[in-house]
Symmetry: C2
Subunit: 190 residues, 2 copies
């Protein structure tokens, strides 16, 4: 039923993330993020786009929205949106995403996380681009709010540099950052 058989997946994580003052919180799901990122994921042939939130009310909200576009009036009104959402799934926590990929593919995914800090497993874009040509499953994890809890980043297989502004301004919406990162890692070379 999925629209692609790609071995590269992405997750948008709403817990555990930091808020403005450094507390670990659960951020709210933005339905617009689900729309935009579904389209971006489809454009770059992503296997599954996982929306990760432990809040049941938010899970219900996202599921209801996806049902509208996949099966309800939205499916005939806007078929390209339906197509985009065929590979979007909602999960409780990142461990459930890893379990889902492992169960469906028989392989544990390697985890890649963009983060502003430098880690021993930090790599540049050309290196990760090459890594992604290999066989096996990959999961690129994006945090919302003020970024993913550091422990999660420390346990990643690879850490990727964030998108740096040309003049010190680093406040891209997460949906824009995801578009740029997937383009750098997956677009056909000119």
């Amino acid at each position: 039923m999925t629209a692609t058989t790609s071995n590269i997946h992405i997750a948008l994580v709403h817990f555990p993330v930091y808020n403005k003052i450094g507390d670990i919180v659960t951020s709210s799901v933005t339905t617009l993020d689900v729309h935009d990122i579904s389209r971006i994921a489809r454009t770059y042939g992503i296997g599954t786009f996982y929306v990760v939130t432990p809040l049941e009310t938010q899970q219900v909200l996202v599921e209801r929205m996806m049902k509208h576009w996949r099966e309800g009036y939205g499916a005939t009104y806007n078929p390209t949106r339906k197509e985009a959402m065929l590979s979007t799934r909602v999960k409780n926590v990142l461990a459930d995403v890893v379990a889902d990929i492992t169960e469906r593919s028989g392989q544990t995914p390697k985890i890649i996380i963009p983060d502003a800090k430098s880690f021993p497993q930090s790599r540049d874009y050309p290196t990760i681009r090459e890594e992604l040509q290999k066989e096996g499953q990959y999961l690129i994890v994006f945090g919302t709010g003020w970024g993913l809890e550091h422990g999660m980043v420390r346990r990643a297989d690879f850490v990727l540099a964030p998108i740096d502004g040309l003049n010190g301004y680093n406040h891209l919406p997460v949906r824009a950052a995801i578009a740029i990162i997937l383009d750098r890692l997956l677009a056909r070379q000119a």
Copy 2:
């Protein structure tokens, strides 16, 4: 008063554009586009981001929103959004954008438009990237809806390939396409 002195500008045009069935229409301004694209423009050091619509009520809406974030409560609540919006302006039609750039810089901008069709002045990304290193003013024009009226594209100095999906799916939100295109044309090379 602008946050940068860059000679590269962008415009988001709401008229004349095509709708789903090929009529030439005025599309509605999405305030979210103004927010996202202001941040993206600021990230890549764009001179001015022009929101182009001939509808006065929509111009008032955008101006009021920008005033809130630049001077109102929003300016203290979210200073990075204020900073992003310092270089955003509203104009009636594309000719007014060209006049504004010419008046402020003393030079007529060269116009670059991404379009799915091939034109005599079509160029690839590396070529336009090199072009943008030159002196002089440049204006990259993005259409909303189902794309800019063809006559506008035909009169552009350069036409740029659109962002192609890896599998025939070409339905990126305009804000995602702008993020990717500016990254390809202006990001520091790895």
